[in-house]
């Protein structure tokens, strides 16, 4: 573990190290920390960008897909000359350009019940930058099992949502808020509903910020749901949400013990296969 910084690091990070409540300790915490970003798309790109720039020591990136033309409108780490390249490789290249001190672990695979715990367990904070309900339940269950905070972002059309699940002793998990999955077909994807790129930018950026707050100890530890509506005169709304639910089937009393991520069929739980816009997209 590195407990001091080089002169170059002082120069690079000085602007944030002089912040009250941040300091040298905050920078060292970032350097020693690891964050895994699941999904290197509209939310994952801005999140990775600001996590790398801030000096997070290790970044994991999980995505099975390759860069396509329709991604470039919002997935701002990917470039025209990396069309056809895997998103994790493209994002890793971009991150190296910003900050070569960051160690990048690239997982070019789809997160699934069988690989989730193995991939996620070595990171301090998990970012949900994915695009479908089944993966959101999977990541939440895995975060509960691994006792890690899950910074969850979502964006569709002109709207976005942000919440940190499984935070501290009494923070709720995704299932505490949404015990039953929505009907398939109601969970529409970006391809079907459209998305303004800058909306994913705002939410992904805020996900990076929440992760940085958690790592450096700047987070107040309470759970709030942030709602964003880009066309509204008053575009942001912060909601006070329930605490961990005693009767939650996963994080509630006796829940965790029964948790068996590997053998849960998340697709079936969510009512069958939902359309994968990343895969079918164009």
């Amino acid at each position: 573990m590195t407990l001091s910084l080089s002169l170059g690091e002082y120069q690079r990070y000085g602007r944030q190290m002089i912040l009250s409540g941040f300091g040298l300790q905050g920078q060292i915490k970032l350097k020693q920390s690891s964050v895994v970003v699941v999904g290197a798309g509209g939310l994952g790109c801005p999140a990775l960008q600001y996590l790398a720039a801030a000096g997070v020591g290790t970044l994991g990136i999980v995505d099975h897909d390759v860069v396509e033309s329709s991604n470039l409108q919002r997935q701002i780490l990917h470039t025209e000359d990396r069309l056809g390249v895997s998103k994790v490789a493209s994002a890793a290249t971009a991150i190296r350009g910003i900050n070569s001190n960051v160690k990048v672990d690239a997982y070019q695979e789809m997160i699934s019940p069988s690989n989730a715990v193995g991939i996620l367990e070595s990171y301090d904070v998990i970012l949900d930058c994915t695009d479908n309900p089944a993966t959101r339940y999977l990541l939440s269950d895995a975060a509960v099992l691994l006792r890690k905070p899950l910074v969850s972002g979502a964006a569709q059309r002109y709207d976005g949502q942000l919440c940190v699940y499984n935070l501290g002793e009494d923070g709720p998990c995704y299932r505490c808020l949404f015990p039953k999955a929505p009907e398939p077909g109601l969970a529409s994807s970006c391809e079907e509903t459209g998305i303004l790129g800058a909306v994913t930018g705002v939410i992904g950026n805020l996900q990076a910020l929440e992760a940085i707050k958690i790592i450096t100890g700047l987070h107040d530890g309470t759970t709030a749901l942030l709602l964003y509506s880009a066309l509204s005169h008053s575009p942001f709304r912060s909601i006070r949400v329930r605490k961990k639910q005693v009767n939650c089937t996963v994080c509630g009393t006796g829940g965790s013990a029964a948790l068996d991520v590997v053998n849960t069929d998340y697709i079936a739980f969510c009512g069958g296969p939902t359309r994968d816009w990343v895969k079918t997209g164009q």
């Binding site: 999904g39 709207d159 976005g160 808020l177 929505p182 109601l186």
Partner: protein, 108 residues
């Protein structure tokens, strides 16, 4: 001699996350609710949900309701607070309350 007092409660309703599409694509509504239900009990959020179905919903009830409550994936917010903290459907609606129905987003 009997006196009949008709009381209504004025409530602001907001829909988000795509739910507005079921309500004439209008996010913000100002509605006047009956102060009490036919059984004499004061109007609560459960009553409000059924009232919205009968009076404001334009299409595809199954995207809003499931077994007489909001369908899974919809969060109800009472004055910027998760309704679970306020008693869920049993919360008695107050004049000038703001009640938000928001569908969770999954895109990224």
């Amino acid at each position: 001699m009997t006196t009949t007092t008709i009381t209504t409660k004025s409530v602001r309703i907001e829909f988000g996350g795509g739910l507005e599409l079921l309500f004439a694509n209008q996010k913000s509504h100002k509605v006047d609710l009956p102060g009490t239900m036919v059984d004499g009990k004061p109007t609560n959020v459960h009553d409000l949900i059924l009232w919205l179905r009968d009076n404001l919903l334009k299409e595809r009830e199954e995207l809003f309701l499931d077994k007489n409550t909001v369908r899974p994936g919809i969060l109800v917010l009472i004055n910027d607070t998760d309704w679970e903290l306020e008693g869920e459907g049993d919360y008695v609606v107050q004049n000038n309350d703001e009640i938000v129905f928001i569908s969770t987003l999954h895109g990224g």
